[in-house]
């Protein structure tokens, strides 16, 4: 798929939730809507494909990657943080095609990728049909496998506060997503809540009710070197899935089970995960 150059004068989000002020935040036209994208750092390029928490502004992991000498580009999948709702995405195939367009639009095709959770699932699926989409891959707790004896937990049949506890080992680690900024104007407060709801909805659209779509039938096509990372305290995908992925991926070059880290381990242990990624991708 031909690469699409990014506009020279990207539109920038102003106001909004105010959490993107430390980054270059922009929106790119995408189909009938737009995609949000944040970037930071200088150096070799790396893409971050987010998980269920989306890209909630100044999360420490992007900073940690930047501090490790990376120029990070973090696009938001349709429906997630700042991107338009995923209209027209009926099934996994539609999502993968959208992701393929997204990486071209963002200018990150062929770059190494650190992908987490739902983003890791999408990255794997994309890699099966488009080997050149990414260089090396660091995958943090990807969805996609299902063991009925050790099932993936349901992160939606719960209250908002309990879902927060499922996403990271330390609930405080996801403050940028779940908490409202102090002194936020009332109208922005409402929109922040709506943004959060839409991000959660997009996750549901991807992985409800059972996040297994047959990847094990095509995983042999993923020839990229893959480093697997999993939080030891992942309350959604059991840590045993780390071994399951290792057994079926053709080219695993590293396996890391990170203590004191939950499902989105990069929020719990940003510096450690960034160091793992840097070691794997350098």
């Amino acid at each position: 798929m031909a690469s699409t150059s990014r506009p020279t004068r990207p539109s920038r989000r102003t106001g909004g939730i105010g959490q993107l002020s430390a980054y270059a935040a922009e929106t790119l036209p995408f189909r009938e809507g737009h995609l949000a994208l944040v970037s930071c750092g200088e150096g070799s390029p790396v893409t971050y494909l987010h998980g269920m928490l989306g890209n909630p502004g100044e999360h420490a992991f992007l900073k940690a990657l930047a501090n490790n000498g990376w120029r990070v580009t973090a696009p938001s999948l349709p429906g997630f943080t700042g991107s338009s709702e995923p209209r027209g995405l009926r099934n996994l195939h539609d999502w993968v095609v959208a992701a393929s367009e997204l990486i071209d639009l963002a200018g990150v095709t062929g770059h190494p990728v650190v992908a987490s959770s739902v983003g890791a699932m999408i990255a794997l699926e994309l890699a099966t049909i488009r080997p050149e989409a990414f260089d090396a891959m660091v995958l943090i707790a990807p969805f996609g496998l299902w063991d009925p004896q050790d099932p993936v937990a349901d992160p939606f049949a719960t209250t908002l506060s309990n879902q927060r506890k499922m996403l990271t080992a330390d609930p405080a680690a996801s403050a940028s997503f779940f908490d409202d900024l102090e002194e936020m104007p009332a109208d922005l407060l409402v929109e922040h809540g709506v943004d959060r709801y839409l991000t959660r909805s997009a996750s549901a659209q991807l992985i409800w009710p059972i996040p297994e779509f047959g990847i094990s039938e095509r995983i042999h096509l993923v020839k990229n070197p893959v480093t697997l990372v999993h939080g030891a305290k992942d309350a959604i995908i059991p840590a045993s899935y780390l071994n399951k992925w290792e057994q079926i991926l053709p080219n695993v070059v590293g396996v890391h089970c990170v203590e004191e880290a939950g499902h989105q381990a990069e929020f719990d242990r940003p510096e450690d995960i960034a160091a793992i990624a840097t070691s794997a991708l350098s």
Binding site: G79, P86, R90, F156, A157, T158, T159, N162, V190, E191, G193, V194, Y197, L198, R200, S201, A202, S203, A204, Q205, W208, P209
Partner: protein, 427 residues
């Protein structure tokens, strides 16, 4: 005003400590709690109650659809409607309704309602709810982010199937059908009236107002709490420039009538407490999956009726866990239920006054009356039903009838065919 005898068909024998020992009456309720013999007795008693209500002169009887729960044992309301269709020859039947998004394809709904309309000679009302999150998302695995879109497509398919006079193709996002050709065709033309039960979504108001559909707010929490929601709907109707015809609205209300107010307090306490504290003991995690509500509803800060019930149930359960002492958790008291208007209670005059106030305040022409609720025994159901039908309904049935036309009421055949099973003759 029309009075519809509405039955939820709850499982009546959940243990008294159910809210204490089980997290939810819906979705993951323990299957071991269901006794098939109780089920057998219960279904037959409930059908008796519906038929009795029909014989008492209610304008219609009503049924609905729910899954995987002890709150209501009607996964298929059309089966119950079929059981009633022959035994209640003069009563209209309101199916409120078939959860369209759960049928594959939704054409099945069009067919079954047409069958029922055929059997009854045109006495059906077709209700199409989006469906509660417990039913649609958790029991039936629908995706919350796409449920409403799937539902609207299904309703569109059903309406086309009833009204197009040709075999046609339907190329939807969720339903792809090469030959759509519903046989039988409904008796009522262009189709049975369509009512939309809602629980608080602001987008449903818009849709009903634009499409001239009946908006029924099926609230558990009485008319005092429901007023704001109905006002929101009527505002949308007025914004379309249409007349606010009360027969475009519907509301559900628990009724507890007795010869005296004191008797009513004594008779209806237990079934009311069973309903509100056990039948509504829904785990809050099942009530609000992301994507189920539209962004507009989130933006408006509207809490759905189910969401509210679940939130309160979970809060009571958690409060119980954190308190000392044992025993049955303190639930909602009957006094609170009556004081807040969840249950209209009293002697016939008092009940008629409150129903009158409800109807006029909320501008409602269709009242779904819950004369059965909770674990009410069949004798009390019969009593409550007969009291309402003979002593309350006559006082309120004329409301709105002179000023407005009910454009959303069944139009049966003048001389429909009836049950005509000959006696067996043995020579």
């Amino acid at each position: 005003m029309k009075s519809i005898f509405f039955h939820l068909m709850p499982y009546p024998e959940l243990p008294p400590d159910f809210p204490d020992e089980h997290r939810s009456v819906w979705v993951d309720i323990d299957p071991a709690l269901y006794d098939p013999e109780v089920g057998n007795r219960t279904y037959n008693e409930y059908l008796d109650e519906l038929e009795f209500a029909a014989s008492c002169g209610f304008d219609a009887v009503g049924v609905n659809e729910h899954h995987s729960n002890g709150y209501g044992l009607m996964p298929s309301p059309n089966i119950i409607a079929a059981a009633l269709s022959r035994n209640c020859p003069d009563t209209n039947i309101v199916v409120l309704g078939d959860s369209v998004a759960l049928y594959n394809p939704p054409l099945r709904v069009a067919e079954e309602i047409a069958m029922l309309d055929g059997i009854t000679g045109g006495r059906m009302v077709a209700g199409f709810p989006v469906g509660s999150p417990m039913d649609t998302i958790f029991a039936y695995g629908q995706n919350p982010a796409t449920l409403r879109e799937r539902y609207h497509e299904g309703v569109d398919l059903i309406r086309q199937a009833w009204t197009r006079d040709e075999v046609f193709s339907f190329n939807g996002k969720y339903n792809k059908l090469r030959y759509v050709n519903v046989w039988p065709r409904p008796v009522q033309q262009p189709h049975p009236p369509i009512w939309i039960p809602g629980g608080g979504s602001v987008d449903t108001w818009d849709w009903c107002a634009q499409e001239d559909l009946v908006y029924c707010y099926l609230s558990y929490f009485g008319y005092k709490a429901g007023l704001k929601t109905m006002q929101g709907f009527w505002k949308k109707v007025q914004e379309t420039g249409k007349e606010a015809n009360p027969f475009q609205g519907g509301f559900a209300q628990f009724i507890a009538v007795a010869d005296t107010e004191k008797e009513a307090w004594d008779l209806y306490r237990e079934p009311a407490e069973y309903f509100f504290n056990t039948c509504l003991h829904v785990y809050a995690g099942f009530a609000d999956p992301p994507g189920y509500k539209t962004p507009n509803t989130v933006r408006a800060g509207v809490e759905g009726m189910v969401e509210r019930a679940a939130r309160e149930a979970t809060a009571r359960a958690e409060a119980k866990k954190s308190s000392t002492g044992g025993g049955y958790p303190k639930g909602l008291s009957f006094e609170e239920m009556v004081e807040k208007g969840y249950v209209i209670l009293g002697n016939p005059t008092q009940v008629a006054e409150q129903v009158h106030e409800l109807a006029t305040t909320m501008h409602i022409g269709h009242l779904m009356t819950f004369c059965h609720f909770g674990n009410m025994n069949k004798d009390l159901v019969r009593y409550n039903t007969e009291m309402y039908a003979t002593k309350v309904m006559p006082e309120v049935c004329d409301l709105f009838e002179d000023e407005y036309e009910d454009l959303w009421w069944p139009q049966p055949l003048d001389q429909p065919a009836r049950r005509d099973v000959p006696e067996v003759s043995v020579s």
